[in-house]
Symmetry: C4
Subunit: 234 residues, 4 copies
């Protein structure tokens, strides 16, 4: 009996959502899910096509990115996931993709401005684009340093990982997270759509204005505030 | 026996069209249908994914946005629907989405110009973009005021809700309506396509001219005028 | 026994290709097929959704746009088809759509330049955009005059309807034709792709040059010339 | 018993991937696979729709583009494939498509800059765009000269066909290759996505910078270098 069966299944299911949501070409993405009680997380094995993936292929890792269980090599981005789980104890799942529009903004090196309520329904700030890593970081422990760059960006901008569950890494692509793996995948799809809408908005009117404060906060609060009235309250 | 069974089924079917037509990501949209005899409307419950939706989940509301029947919390946009049904007695269904190209125009804060016959087949005016609500409206009864903003826009521009069955709300997205819920969904899909074509048109030729009056009216009249010859006359 | 059974089936099958090829939203398109021996053509009935269409719904018309057989009202664009069949005796099928990128070029009011071999494989000229009809034409016998406008454009530009099987009508959309209805639908899909590629090309490099003559003619001739070596020669 | 059965099946399977990956409209593409022991390659017959293709239709050719086995006419691009197999002994499969975004860059006549890690995961250089052939080349043995133009471009730019498995031909479209036919198709899909991302990047920020050297090499090396740690090492 596999003690990580549930964690593997959660991780497997969340990974399978990526191609269904149109967020990945071939193997360009990975999702992990954490088990806080055991202090381990499950992650997709590296380079395995989604259609060949099975729950038992999920590799179980600790927060220092050491393999705890599993026979396959974990995602090459595993150390980024590990550092985020170690540093941010409130998150339950992480998704990394190379989805088209989010990557385009990352390659453009720009934060995604907040132009509308679709964005504000999910976060009341622009989506940050963390600067490209320094040469020393890239030539050092690259994927671990990628995790540091994410946290540095959040610290510099005074962002909360609960109010902002997504980031772009310049010249690379998006990372998203959430209370569990499924929520991190949801956020990856939302980010892709926000990125697409913002691109189109600027093509139509390069001089348009960001959402004003009252509407920005209203939409965020009606969904996430203490008097939220969106959803079924469960 | 549920007295609202037919209304719930109409509302349910119309909501299910949204993902089929590619107009919604996750739960980003809602459709309502009215029963004028009973003075109630059915609307999608808030935050329920379309694939989990059942006819019995539809919430029955009166025109003052009070729940008449149903156990779930209605769409957070319910008060907008309610005010439109109360004010515009000739409409039978309302759709709200965050479809990509319509949102992009709303975020750009611009009316959609009338560039061709695809547009004129459905309305002979530009698609209006209502200004963003004032802070007082946003901080007041927000969704109710959203309904007022729609009606204010139609009044200011002298538009008829029968000749123009769609609107954009600046920084938010589209609302569409029609003689029944199915027609409001049809209009939501037409608006998205018109928005996409207008975006592409301006990318190809920013100096192109709007449709001239004779052609604008010809296409509208052949489909909607008293001598219309489009369709099977039923 | 229906004497037009074969013609109706050909027309029906060709119409059904439009939604499969992503060329139509709802009922925004129509295909006709001609029977030269009987001097009649079959055409889609007006306003009928493709999923509800049956072969027996196809309306049989003569070249003066009079109904010969059938109980439904024919496409509102029927007179355009009729004039083309009457004037161009070598064509066997006609397709009209409001496909997105072709409409965008029509709304931009521009010919589609010939930028590459995908275009030259099908025609060695830019795709013409016929000017918008005069007010007199629009207020007269509009759909009949639309056919005249197509032929006027071909005459003015010295184009052959065999070497160029497609046209845009300014502020409206594309018409395509071919040796039979299936070929006219094929051309509608090719035009949409050429229109999309040309749009993207100009976005990437507004100063790019059209295809040079030698390559333009080479690709056209290897597929359509007397020494053509593309295809299986049947 | 067909001595080319395995080669035909490999070629057939790889061709069938093109429509599944959205890389071709109608017959706009072809894949070949080589058998180095027999010094022959299999290639798609010309002008045959993918849905009508059978393994036995694959035409077997030698490196001088002479038919060795098969009853159908081979792809009109066969001489380009033949020259590449003859000149580059390390490649096992070749794909040619007219995929939309790759063609748009080819029609724009520009190399695709390296803007991000999606690109660097596959090659550490911009994707080259070979100049349009001279009139003499076009009017001579055109498809053979197309192969020469590809090799000239690689020689001029000092590129290795193992580090760069893709090219654009100006005003035409992409060719890709790899260790086998499946890898060449994979590369065709990767190129299309890189082309799309680069287009969007420049639309969002025309002044963005290419990927810096350290990150460009890091991503390429972690996947392809001697200490690569991407994938399962098999």
């Amino acid at each position: 009996m596999d003690p990580y069966k549930t964690l593997r299944e959660e991780t497997y299911e969340a990974n399978c959502q990526l191609p269904r949501l149109g967020l990945v070409l071939f193997t360009f993405g990975n999702v992990s899910a954490v088990d806080r009680d055991r202090a381990v997380f499950g992650i997709k094995p590296s380079g395995v096509p989604y259609e060949n993936l099975h729950p038992q292929d999920i590799v179980i890792m600790d927060y220092d990115a050491r393999v705890v269980d599993g026979t396959m090599r974990p995602s090459s981005d595993t150390k980024t996931h590990a550092l985020l789980y170690k540093s941010w104890e409130n998150i339950g799942g992480i998704t990394h993709t190379h989805s088209t529009y989010a990557v385009a903004w990352a390659q453009a090196g720009l934060d995604i401005p907040i132009f509308g309520t679709t964005h504000a329904d999910h976060t009341h700030q622009p989506i940050p684009c963390a600067s490209v890593l320094t040469d020393a970081m890239i030539e050092g422990d690259y994927e671990h340093e990628t995790g540091h760059q994410i946290m540095n960006c959040f610290q510099d901008k005074g962002l909360s990982n609960q109010e902002m569950e997504m980031i772009l890494l310049q010249n690379h692509g998006p990372f998203t997270w959430g209370k569990d793996a499924a929520k991190s995948v949801y956020n990856a799809a939302v980010l892709e759509e926000i990125a697409r809408m913002a691109f189109l908005t600027l093509q139509i009117n390069p001089n348009t204005h960001p959402l004003k404060d009252s509407l920005r906060l209203k939409h965020y609060e009606r969904k996430h505030g203490k008097n939220a009235y969106y959803g079924q309250g469960c």
